[in-house]
């Protein structure tokens, strides 16, 4: 009933609501849910190819791990791609650098406006949609992967080639 939950069970409840929402009414090309029902604070998400039509990422299926803090939704989750992905806003270790995943307090790049950042009214679905649009349109002002940034700015052909390699890897063709 009302307010019986401490912090972490508030988070749990909210995560279950979101999981249900994503299961019953999934956005196209997105699939997300907890890895194991014993731990609702760690999710796996799959972003499939039809989100990337007309981008170099077309055809790929990328998986990512979302880790939620105990005080979710007050603090944002972190998102890490497990499939290798070559992109200016994804760190080489797979961690996604996007403003919606940054709590208003910390601003590692000192350029984001507060309105783009995390707020408790955001959700997993909105994060994934933002990540999809980020993949399609990199933001080279906040480079997480400097190599990718450079190549994206200077040699778009090579960039697309590198991305297609990732796509093949994600499909385990290579």
């Amino acid at each position: 009933m009302y307010g019986r939950s401490g912090n972490s069970s508030t988070a749990l409840k909210r995560l279950m609501t979101e999981y249900r929402e994503l299961t019953v009414n999934p956005p196209e090309g997105i699939c997300a849910g907890p890895i194991s029902e014993d731990n609702f604070f760690e999710w796996e998400a799959l972003i499939a190819y039809h989100c990337f039509l007309d981008t170099p990422f077309e055809g790929g299926v990328f998986s990512a791990i979302l880790k939620f803090p105990r005080d979710y939704p007050l603090s944002p989750p972190t998102m890490t791609f497990t499939s290798s992905i070559f992109h200016p806003n994804v760190y080489p270790n797979g961690e996604v650098c996007i403003s919606i995943l940054h709590a208003p307090g910390d601003d590692p790049h000192m350029y984001e406006s507060a309105s783009e950042r995390w707020s408790p009214v955001q959700s997993v679905e909105k994060i994934l949609l933002s990540v999809i649009s980020m993949l399609a349109e990199p933001n080279d002002e906040s480079g997480a992967n400097i190599d990718a940034c450079k190549i994206w700015r200077t040699d778009r052909e090579q960039f697309n080639e590198r991305v297609r390699e990732c796509v093949k890897q994600s499909l385990a063709i290579e």
Partner: protein, 402 residues
């Protein structure tokens, strides 16, 4: 009370309505809704208080806000409660219940599900079953309302709303003597009026001051809304440990732990306390203290096996409660009876408490934890069963007086 969450609405307008009656933070139906006077965005009281204690902006529009500028938005509470009460019936009307869903296989059965809708849509309220029943049974009001209740009883979704219906039965049978006229329920006082008189009545009802937010339990309408004074914000950094302890002691809270624990405890308690004051029917401070202590205990045990146990209990909520409720109706009534008798026992002889806790079926070493979980499961059961009577004193809360 995530009772109606399991199934999606087929109608996009209903989906939208459903979404709008939910808090943007917890995504559940509004509970103790409050809104900012600056930007008019509404949230559950506890959700928003927690959120602005982390960051002083409106989570929706990021307008800078002050906690003191939160005002109650009780109509949202009422709307959310009414909607979730009406949900089973709406689902039935739109052929959207999980039960119906599972039975729809071919076009034939789909058609047979749709026919009742056409028959019912002439009524504007979800009370149609009630108001339109058997147009010409004569004037013996009491007998007719009995017949209706029986009829409702056969209805698969009637259980939850039954107490409320019977409370309003006399007024509605009076007003529905002119059977040809359509009737509607006043959203403020939940009385049934003929459509021609409804608009005028609602205006009068709204002018008459703050609406009694409970669904027509005449008992609670008599009692004026008790509003505990809000706790003001403390600047913990200028307070000495001794002052902090005094502050906690003032509310009968434990004073052990280091400074950080003390501050966290008071902060969390103030959130809970102030959010309670925004409920349509706030609990007494002593009850809030009990609830807080229970949650603190739970929180301590939370990182261990407590969290998995918690998943087990909440998994139930994800299932379709309606079908669940029908399937286990007998067990639910039994549990409620059990809880009531335990409550009565606890009230008379507090010493029996120890025996009641050991009676829990899965009583093992981790006794307090187990009890909390059983308590919560019970809470859910009680909630769905006595949903229409918020003034109901939850028996399941009492075995925790320690």
């Amino acid at each position: 009370m995530a009772s109606e969450d399991g199934v999606q609405w087929r109608d996009s307008n209903l989906t939208e309505l459903d979404q709008r009656l939910r808090c943007p933070i917890c995504k559940e139906f509004f509970k103790a809704a409050v809104m900012f006077t600056e930007c008019a965005h509404s949230f559950c009281s506890l959700c928003i208080r927690r959120s602005i204690s982390a960051e002083g902006v409106c989570p929706v529009c990021r307008h800078a806000v002050l906690e003191s500028n939160l005002v109650r938005n009780s109509i949202l509470d009422d709307l959310a409660a009414s909607f979730s009460r009406a949900a089973p019936h709406l689902r039935e009307l739109t052929g959207n219940s999980a039960l119906l869903d599972s039975s729809i296989d071919g076009p034939h059965s789909a058609v047979s599900q749709i026919t009742p809708i056409a028959r019912r849509t002439r009524s504007t309220t979800y009370d149609s079953d009630f108001c339109y029943d058997q147009p010409s049974t004569g004037r013996s009001g009491s007998r007719r309302s009995l017949a209706r209740i029986k009829h409702l009883d056969d209805h698969p979704f009637a259980r939850r709303s039954l107490p409320r219906r019977s409370a309003t039965s006399t007024t509605s049978s009076r007003s529905s003597t002119k059977q040809t006229e359509e009737t509607g329920e006043c959203p403020v006082c939940n009385q049934t009026y003929s459509m021609s008189r409804l608009a005028a009545h609602v205006n009068r009802c709204l002018e008459a001051g703050p609406p009694p937010s409970s669904p027509a339990s005449s008992k609670s309408q008599v009692v004026p809304r008790y509003v505990p004074p809000k706790l003001s914000k403390c600047v913990y950094s200028v307070m000495k440990d001794k002052q902090l302890r005094a502050l906690l002691e003032q509310h009968g809270l434990p004073t052990h732990g280091d400074r950080a624990t003390l501050i966290r405890r008071h902060k969390e308690f103030a959130l809970l306390y102030n959010a309670n004051a925004d409920l349509p029917y706030p609990k007494r401070p002593a009850e809030v203290v009990r609830q807080f202590l229970r949650e603190e205990r739970q929180h301590m045990a939370g990182s261990g096996n407590g969290s998995t146990a918690r998943v087990q209990t909440t998994k139930l909520e994800a299932e379709d409660i309606q079908s669940h409720e029908i399937r286990y109706a007998e067990q639910f009534t039994e549990l409620i009876e059990q809880a009531r008798s335990t409550y009565a026992k606890c009230k008379t002889t507090p010493t029996t408490m120890t025996t009641t806790t050991t009676q829990q079926p899965e009583g093992n070493d981790n006794n307090s934890n187990d009890n909390d979980n059983a308590d919560e499961a019970m809470d859910d059961v009680m909630w769905s069963a006595v949903f229409s009577d918020p003034a109901y004193d939850y028996p399941s809360q009492d075995p925790n007086i320690a």
